[in-house]
Subunit: 193 residues, 2 copies
Amino acid sequence: MGDGYHHGNLRQALIDAGLKLINESGEENLSLRKVALQCNVSHAAPYAHFKDKEELIEAIKESVTGSFMRELQEAIGKASNVDEEIVNMGKTYVTFFVKNPDYFKFLFGSQNIEAHLRCDNEYKDDYPPFVLLKEEYLKYLDAHNMRRSDDEKELDIIKLWSSVHGLASIACMTGVKTSLDWNDKILSDLRIT
Amino acid sequence: MGDGYHHGNLRQALIDAGLKLINESGEENLSLRKVALQCNVSHAAPYAHFKDKEELIEAIKESVTGSFMRELQEAIGKASNVDEEIVNMGKTYVTFFVKNPDYFKFLFGSQNIEAHLRCDNEYKDDYPPFVLLKEEYLKYLDAHNMRRSDDEKELDIIKLWSSVHGLASIACMTGVKTSLDWNDKILSDLRIT
DNA sequence: TTTGTCATCTTGACAGTGTAAAGATAGCTG
DNA sequence: CAGCTATCTTTACACTGTCAAGATGACAAA
């Protein structure tokens, strides 16, 4: 490693640089060449680590999703019962994106969202935040001794997800920050009926 | 008009061509030059009608929003009471985008959504579909003799909007079509409590 | 040590992009 | 008719993603 011909850990550096660029001026301002430049590396160097611009973007998305997951977990950890866990998680889901709408646009905005969620005809069962939501939901059912058919479960989860995701989406696309307390009110009401 | 030097109605032709390209291969495949080519016109001709690529995209979005509005109105027209109107509208909101997810990604996906919703620090009060939703909501309150404070109204509307929008968003981003009946179940339950 | 292999990085090239500037065209107004 | 002006063409430029050919150096085998 070092500052000679070989960078040392270019792959991660490219991801970080890309993330920085997105934070500064959104995805539309992200170019492979700028990312490379920021790493003091030639414009074609990224191709040793990513076959595509898309593949770099994918890696950056995974990085963002990682931060997202960490915040969700942390919020859950602070709760003292399952009901609170779900509410905390919902609030954090929205808050995370309200804090920087660019992330929402980046993750769910641009082109091939399917690629990132890697959905195989079902709303992605291994998209980490979704898995987490699912676990919390099942925990909730268990804690309340509720029995549900598989169909009812799917329905509940979609309902739960779409309410927080819709809130985040609207908050991010309208840029309205004043409604944060409304979100709170709505999310405090999150429960499975 | 005519096929000589001047096109006749290039502006609309460009919008139509752009719409077609998006339908065929998504927004990421849309370029000013392709649009111009499809209209048998030089690559710089669009600049007589749009100052920007962004301005053309904006015009296309307005066109899509127009179609969207027409379907919403039609759905409302088929209802026989206010409750049904709201449910129909909600279902159509989701169905319209499920029918062609590219439109959802185009409208709410790419970069400057704010520009399209032209929000001035409030969730767009002159974004047509939102205005329609608001009207329907007020009609609903009136029909049921319900009184609400302004804050409660805002809260209800956000709730209403985010539930249908979140559903549409998830449907479009996951590409899950099988859940259309779930959407129906959820949306049949749309009511202000 | 020497040799060879291989991932990594550079250089150079290419087609496609958005956009600006300067000029051509033709329809409209006087 | 003359002139104006919106519309369209041509030319040019910087920037993009991507590819191919080569340079570099780390590391393993000899």
